[in-house]
Subunit: 152 residues, 2 copies
Amino acid sequence: MEELPGSLGTSASFSLRLGQTIFASASLLIMSLGINFYSYTSFCYLVTIMGLVIPWSFTLALVDGYSVIAGCPLHRAGILLVIAAGDWVLSILSLAAACSAASVVEILSQLGEPFCPSKECNRFQLSVAMTFLSWFLTTASFLFNLWRLPSL
Amino acid sequence: MEELPGSLGTSASFSLRLGQTIFASASLLIMSLGINFYSYTSFCYLVTIMGLVIPWSFTLALVDGYSVIAGCPLHRAGILLVIAAGDWVLSILSLAAACSAASVVEILSQLGEPFCPSKECNRFQLSVAMTFLSWFLTTASFLFNLWRLPSL
């Protein structure tokens, strides 16, 4: 059976998973460097979701890495379905987190200095950008796995 | 060929499209009843996206209605692909609009009276709830059409 690049067990999928883990970790770290994020629901939500994305993507990166090195890709439709469903749910949650945090940053920077010192605002913006990148890669993984599903 | 309920040209799809049009129109109307929404980027974005969802869903409701009454469903993979892609893009944009508007409403209601009078805040919340419902139905349409795509 031909392998679709990007679907479970390929080296492209390994790169995608690694990218998700890195961006999600960066987003989580940058956001939680200051304790200030705790006052805003959206930022807490973003941190929670990134905390879910990191173990999920890291585990699947390990699975992909093993599968590439050992040369034995998984060909079970059930497992692929569960992974595609997980990716879908996480991509929806990541998008929701990124959008809500982005609009809160926008409002805070409009309100100005007392609510959001310039240095802190830049940090929040960077964290949101990382979340968007993580969402993009998660959606790519979801689409590749979904596309391969009917052929199993 | 068997018809999947909810995919293009069925009465379930007609109901979904009608629901999307009604919820998106309600969201747009409730949000733009006062002129105040104009000061916030997220609310302007929500109004723009709902302005895209309404003609898209209404047109497809007409197509579904015609197809049900005339009894001649469309069986072209190309058309279904374009519709599924459109649904996907609109569902992502609707979710982004709903989440960003929801977090802005949350922040405004935290800031209290001068930023968001209680009556206005309730109106914004209702509009956001309608957007979430419209997103939910758009995603359902997308999934049904996507599921039917490989069988064409």
